[in-house]
């Protein structure tokens, strides 16, 4: 493949073109080119518009040219929706004519067929050779409202005007991009730019994400993603986005169950691809959502109220019913109702009956005279309370609905605190809706959407407070990666773990029962005896583990039983008996809790570590957490603390606290092992890691790994 030619235009230049060429330009709005011309002129694109159409000399007042080669002067961006058969030729013509960037809307490429994929490769090759950039194919173009640029043919651009905002949107789906744009328009929300990517033959998601990180007009970035072209670049960009103080919101579909089915270990089966993506996002402060409408509303809130505040929610409602519903649902969502100060309650008591003069406020409980104005007074009092960080309103129908809503919205917005309102009624709330719109107060016609958006908004504040401590390699680790062993035998993996400083139970491999007796004397009774074969995963299933052997007689009897059990399972599997390597004699380890630690290598995001509560319940209750590797000691502690069984680690029901630091240290070491060892390490698992009481450490009792063959 030839060297990539220098890019003719930067992303900023592509999104701010001085001139655009429209292939198939006409004044027929039933055609792609016709609609694009219509929207460009309608919304007042200030640059030069160059219609390309062999059958026209002028389109909508702009001089038209038969071919792009004939168009005079420099053309920054060309947009094409020509038929698939002519597309590659047209793009090549653009490259030859010195165009800066082609936006290809034509479909029928990699998304459709093998043949289309080949055509798409030709496009990519043109871009690479020429330095002309390509957006698409199979995209719906992009929009830059501040630049009055609408390179897009969707009917949503029939909108009366373009709303400029501080949200940057990148979407792999064109239909979702224009739908989100239109929904936002209905809610009075604008964008700094909206880009649809299509098949990403040349420019990909991260090109635009990186642009938005730098763009001073963008405060929040939204991504709709189906799959990443360059996951590592995304992770770097996410970190840069966080460092720039810009919230990054991602909606990801299309999870890949690949690999999970074939899972042989807990780590593999418990760490689905999306779980790993979620862990990566959490560690980089990326907010994950699952609804495009909510993504836009959330972005708007974060753009308007970027400062993190407290977690107290102040609730005001027009009726006791709505107040009760909100209070119940907020608590269920794990959100905290603010505790009002005595002075706030005193102010409220002047206008409301005692049960209603507290959070949640029920405006229905008014003291006589029930003046309309008390709505504003009550809201001002609530919003001024120091523990109220966010204001939530839930409005049902009430007397003087419109006036009271206006007073509530005005008072709430005057506080400068974030506000989310929802309305239950239908048409009867249309005038209150207009009042909210006028006051600039965010509102929802669905409590469901209001609360989901609020939940994400509060989660972002927690996420933002999260440290981004760098993972520092422990001084006790060799600065160079330890070489991977040739195989994944018990001894080889044990040696690897020991090299990374993981605490292993004392054990000796014995080839016969006499060696086992000698080993037990050296270790000291009681001991455990575990049959070792080259390919046995769950030793206990085959009766090949005997615990708590107190003396030589018990040890010898156990040896015989294990050998019989292994021989049986060998012959069942119709495999040669020489798979049996002997038995491990191991110290009996007892402690306060068992954990499972694992490593998995994600094909996209690389190594991750897994921690879970041990024992049989781990599978049933999936009390498991993941994080990308390597990770800091603080991140490892956070990971352990997120387990639902975490209270056991601190000691409950009269049990002593356990050695959490030792567990975190093991997680950190495993993380470096994962980070060092590259793609040959498919997965690795320590199960159980026995955690002793605080100060006494942790011990890995058993482990296994899967390595790809070869060096």
């Amino acid at each position: 493949m030839t060297e990539r030619a220098p890019a003719r235009l930067s992303i900023r230049q592509i999104l701010h073109p001085r001139s655009v060429a429209v292939f198939g330009a006409s004044d027929n709005a039933d055609k792609f080119g016709g609609r694009i011309m219509r929207f460009l002129t309608r919304h007042g694109f200030p640059g030069r518009i160059v219609p390309i159409n062999p059958r026209r000399s002028e389109v909508l007042g702009h001089r038209a040219y038969a071919t792009i080669a004939e168009a005079p002067g420099e053309v920054d961006v060309a947009i094409l929706a020509v038929p698939p058969g002519q597309l590659v030729g047209a793009v090549a013509d653009c490259a030859a004519a010195g165009i800066g960037c082609c936006v290809v809307m034509t479909t029928g490429f990699a998304e459709a067929s093998e043949e289309g994929a080949a055509r798409q490769d030709e496009l990519a090759a043109i871009a690479r050779r020429s330095g002309m950039r390509i957006v698409g194919p199979n995209c719906m173009g992009f929009l830059n409202p501040a630049w009055k640029l609408t390179l897009c043919s969707s009917v949503v651009l029939e909108a009366e005007r373009l709303l400029v905002g501080e949200i940057g949107l990148v979407s792999q789906s064109g239909a979702l991009m224009v739908s989100m744009f239109d929904r936002a328009y209905g809610d009075g929300i604008g964008f700094s730019a909206c880009v649809s990517l299509g098949n990403q033959s040349d420019l990909e998601l991260c090109d635009f994400l990186e642009y938005f990180i730098e763009d001073p007009a963008t405060r929040v970035v939204c991504l709709y993603v189906e799959g990443f072209v360059d996951p590592a670049r995304f992770v770097r960009a996410a970190a840069a986005c966080r460092a720039a103080g810009k919230p990054l919101i991602v909606l990801k579909t299309g999870r890949t169950p690949a690999g999970v089915k074939a899972a042989r270990s807990h780590t593999a089966s418990l760490a689905g691809a999306y779980d790993i993506f979620r862990a990566v996002c959490r560690e980089h402060g990326v907010l994950l959502v699952d609804d495009p409408a909510i993504m836009v509303r959330l972005a708007d809130l974060l753009a308007r109220w970027p400062e993190a505040g407290g977690d107290g929610i102040g609730v005001l409602s027009g009726s006791g019913g709505s107040a009760g519903i909100l209070a119940d649902r907020l608590s269920e969502a794990g959100l905290r109702l603010a505790t009002l100060a005595p002075t706030t309650r005193a102010r409220l008591s002047e206008i409301l009956l005692p049960p209603q003069a507290d959070n949640p406020i029920d405006l229905g409980g008014r003291r006589p005279p029930e003046s309309v104005e008390i709505a504003g007074t009550a809201m001002s009092a609530l919003a001024a309370d120091p523990d109220v960080a966010v204001i939530v309103m839930g409005l049902s129908s009430m007397p003087f609905f419109e006036n009271r809503t206006r007073l509530l919205a005005t008072a709430a917005m005057a506080s400068g605190k974030p506000v989310l309102c929802s309305l239950l009624p239908g048409p009867a709330a249309d005038r209150p809706r207009a009042a909210l719109r006028e006051a600039g107060c965010p509102f929802f016609d669905s409590t469901e959407e209001q609360l989901r958006t609020l939940g994400h908004f509060m989660a972002y504040r927690r996420l933002a407070a999260y440290g981004a401590e760098p993972a520092v390699r422990p001084a006790s680790l060799s600065p160079q990666p330890v070489p991977l062993p040739g195989g994944a035998g018990h001894r080889e993996i044990g040696t690897l773990l020991a090299a990374y400083g993981l605490p292993l139970a004392r054990e000796i491999l014995a080839k016969d029962s006499d060696e086992a007796v000698a080993a037990a004397s050296s270790i000291g009774y009681p001991v455990a005896l575990k049959g070792v074969t080259r390919d046995l995963v769950h030793k206990s299933d085959a009766g090949a583990v005997k615990l708590n052997l107190r003396d030589e007689a018990a040890l010898r009897a156990a040896w015989e039983e294990i050998m019989r059990a292994l021989a049986r399972s060998r012959s069942d599997a119709a495999q040669p008996a020489n798979g049996i390597e002997g038995c491990i004699v191991q110290e009996m380890v007892e402690g306060g809790a068992e954990l499972i630690l694992g490593i998995k290598r994600d094909p996209q995001f690389g190594p991750v570590v897994l921690v879970g509560s041990g024992g049989i319940l781990v599978e049933l209750l999936r009390d498991v957490e993941l994080a990308p590797a390597p990770l800091s000691h603080a991140a490892a502690l956070r990971l352990l603390r997120r387990l639902r069984s975490a209270p056991i680690l601190d000691g409950i029901r009269g049990q002593p606290p356990l050695d959490l630091n030792a567990a975190a240290d093991a997680v950190v070491r495993l993380g470096w092992l994962a980070a060092d060892l590259g793609a040959r390490l498919v997965d690795l698992e320590i199960n159980p890691l026995v955690l002793r009481r605080r100060g006494r450490g942790a011990v890995a009792v058993d482990f296994r790994a899967t390595l790809l063959p070869g060096g």
Copy 2:
């Protein structure tokens, strides 16, 4: 209190009055009475309207009277919003004048003050003495659209017309009633009747619920509830509603944490009041929701498509993005995408590209020629598939949006299968919205609401398939309740449990160590030794339990340790040492799993049984299920199967299956114990119940109870 006089009118007569009197009637729509007059005439109430106003001779064409006593003829229902001070007198006048029912909108009663509560008692007394019924006070009246009756002053009745439907709505909150009514109106959904209850001084929720069960015009019943006047009556009505084949949907707020704080046992602390209500609802087929808007949409779906069908969801979307989002979210919600038959896929392949010609269908992947009509063809193919039970659409902006949406909606509705559509765009989807409305196709502007409603809709189908087996008293139980013991000592509760046939570990109470040694010989080593005091709950916390004692020496040593530990905890608590009753010598019980079984008595809904997975994790993971007592063996099995740890019961990871029947039998027996023993039994707990392998039964190892004193 005097006998209740016979009711002057039935609920049916109250909701279908031949004549209504309006207190404070005027033509000033700023006043309550003015608006009521306006709405009654506007919507064409066909009965007689009797304005009551001393300052008017006529209101809106109806002859007015100064007092109710002067009004000629029979008046079925009077509606009053007169000031609190005059209200009781006015209601007494109505009773004297022979009115059938008073609807009292006036506020300032029990919800406001002690004085108000006293006034409310007077109202109740008038109703009781006279037989005149009262709705309210503090209510917003009721609506019967088919009868053109609007006894309500809310501005939502400015609506152009009343929509008649098959949903009966009872709401404790007036504001929520009118808001739901209006929202439903906006969505084209009508009601058989809407009733707001207010303070339920006379007529209460169940009066109207029972009416709706009998009402042939009502197909689905919705309740908004803050608290029950008569919980037992509600439970009977719920069962009757299910027997009548009418879905009952309940939104309940205002949970009562009372009692939970003071909880001394797991049973008490794990069984919150709302958890119990939820369990009662599940056993009686009641659907619980938490959002009024969703309640109405759900009711509409259940009224339109009452037949239970399969669980396969057919998804059609206008773009790959929307299809992906829906597929991910449906799977996450535990819903199943239908598996399309080969013939269906063949039909789809004629018009769609291969990856899009399956469930979820992405209409964006059209084969050329991309005729608009393929939308209808694709939907017809999907809807005809035998595994598609419910059709879900998610529409983003697409070419020919309006026409394609019309074709999709028409084809979907023609199938007769339930359809739920959602639209992501804002104003650009207004014409598609109109097309959906025209086709009668349910649609949502929020995917969130669509999916929540769908989730409830599918849950109802599962709930309806649930058996309602009667709880039959086991033949081995005495037909009469066993008398409650005088105290809650270990021995007394053990005797009680044994009388109900619960399997207890063999044990002997020993007063000194010699008695303990004799007991151990009789039971056989190994044994457990457990200190018994009158008020010790968690014995293991005080070091008063010693397990696996293998011989006399170990037993005697354990005895001394327990005595020392108890003495220590006694003196800590500064209580007399004579609380120590001795030690229990108990057989060592081992088995495959530990369960916790409990009984709790709910102040509203009576006795419930609790099952949970045992051990320390029960508290952390709350793997607990509840059911009202008594319950059938089938219901007990269902309860156990709902535990997240249930797979352990069937045997996992090479473990044998456990004696699930024995566990269910213990649950059934505990249920009868709870049902028999009445209010003196506050709670009781068996922890653990050790479950042995199948066929070998279960054994209760430890237990405790709380009894109220007295007989």
